[in-house]
């Protein structure tokens, strides 16, 4: 039993050491808030090194530095807008995933909708013209044919219910 005592103490020590370091790593409440805001801002920003990644996702060195910069500015009490202006002032509108509406970005914002609208208009015009053309080329029905059609159409309701004519 006495031999086991040092081992038990050692085990306890290890256990508590682990607990102590775990507590050290836990972020404070303020950190969580800052970190959340930092992530929210950096998700709106493009990483300039790997341009298809957001600043929040990128592991590039510059992205890490910029995240540090954003974090510090949040701690200094700057607003989201001020931080955004800071980034745009240095890297241009290109860093924003949602570029502002200016003369140069009109096409970017409304181009797809304009194309869609044009497509719909072209389609409607084409279909109308086509149906008119088809109607014009069909020969008119004779009186006999018209009577048959009426008879068939009149009969469908009763005899072929639930079936396609």
């Amino acid at each position: 039993m006495r031999r086991l005592l040092p081992f038990a103490l050692l085990a306890l020590l290890v256990l508590f050491a682990g607990a102590a370091s775990a507590r050290e790593a836990a972020p404070t409440a303020e950190d969580v808030v800052v970190e959340k805001r930092m992530v929210a801002i950096s998700e709106e920003l493009r990483c300039l090194v790997c341009q298809n990644e957001s600043l929040a996702a990128s592991q590039a060195d510059l992205a890490k530095d910029l995240r540090r910069e954003i974090r510090e500015q949040i701690q200094d009490g700057r607003s989201d807008q001020e931080i955004m202006d800071f980034m745009v002032g240095r890297y241009g509108d290109f860093v924003r995933y949602r570029p502002p509406l200016t003369g140069a970005t009109l096409m970017l914002w409304f181009g797809p909708f304009a194309l869609l609208l044009t497509g719909v208009v072209v389609l409607v015009v084409y279909l109308r013209r086509r149906s008119r053309r088809v109607a014009a080329t069909l020969p008119a029905l004779s009186a006999e044919e018209q009577r048959k059609v009426d008879a068939l159409l009149g009969g469908t309701r009763d005899t072929t219910e639930g079936r396609k004519p």
Partner: protein, 174 residues
């Protein structure tokens, strides 16, 4: 005949757009700093860390600020061109040593030659952020009033030097 002309026209316009798009370099982001005063800073010099350098010391001179690092591969590509340019003496080049351990930077300059009037150590990369640096090497041409007039992203090539930097320096020095 007419019904094929319109789709053909649209196709040609589309091809033209795509051709231009393919030939643009997506890494070249136009800098919002052009035409604006060079951001102020004060940093220790690389060779004599006890001395500092600030861009306002350069007022009244046309100068080049070249961002470099020993870990940067394309810096080696442009380096001989900068060394040659420094020999002509048309404008002083100041080096911003970006996020580089001092010993590495000094060894690099010894090995490849030092075209810089002096180098400034930006160990934290903070000045780099103020200058919108995102791809080392980058080179700025700054005029007598301390305004950034030109920015080269990526290595300075002989073409860029002759077509853009040299004429601009000459004009600014008038």
């Amino acid at each position: 005949m007419n019904r094929f002309l319109l789709p053909l026209g649209i196709f040609i316009v589309l091809v033209a757009f795509l051709a231009v798009g393919l030939n643009l370099n997506p890494r070249e982001v136009p800098s919002p700093l052009i035409g604006k005063p060079a951001p102020a800073f004060e940093l220790p010099q690389l060779h004599k860390p006890e001395l500092s350098f600030a861009p306002k010391n350069m007022l009244g001179k046309v100068w080049l600020l070249n961002v470099w690092a020993s870990w940067c591969v394309s810096c080696r590509q442009e380096h001989p061109i900068l060394v040659d340019f420094a020999k002509t003496g048309s404008a002083p080049i100041y080096g911003l040593n970006y996020k580089d351990p001092r010993a590495d930077a000094l060894r690099w300059l010894k090995q490849y030659g030092d075209p810089y009037a002096l180098s400034i150590a930006d160990a934290e990369g903070r000045v780099g952020i103020d200058y919108g640096v995102y791809g080392v090497p980058e080179t700025y041409v700054i005029d007598k009033a301390g305004v950034i007039r030109f920015k080269q992203i990526g290595p300075v090539t002989q073409d860029v030097l002759e077509a853009k930097i040299l004429p601009l320096v000459k004009e600014l020095n008038k």
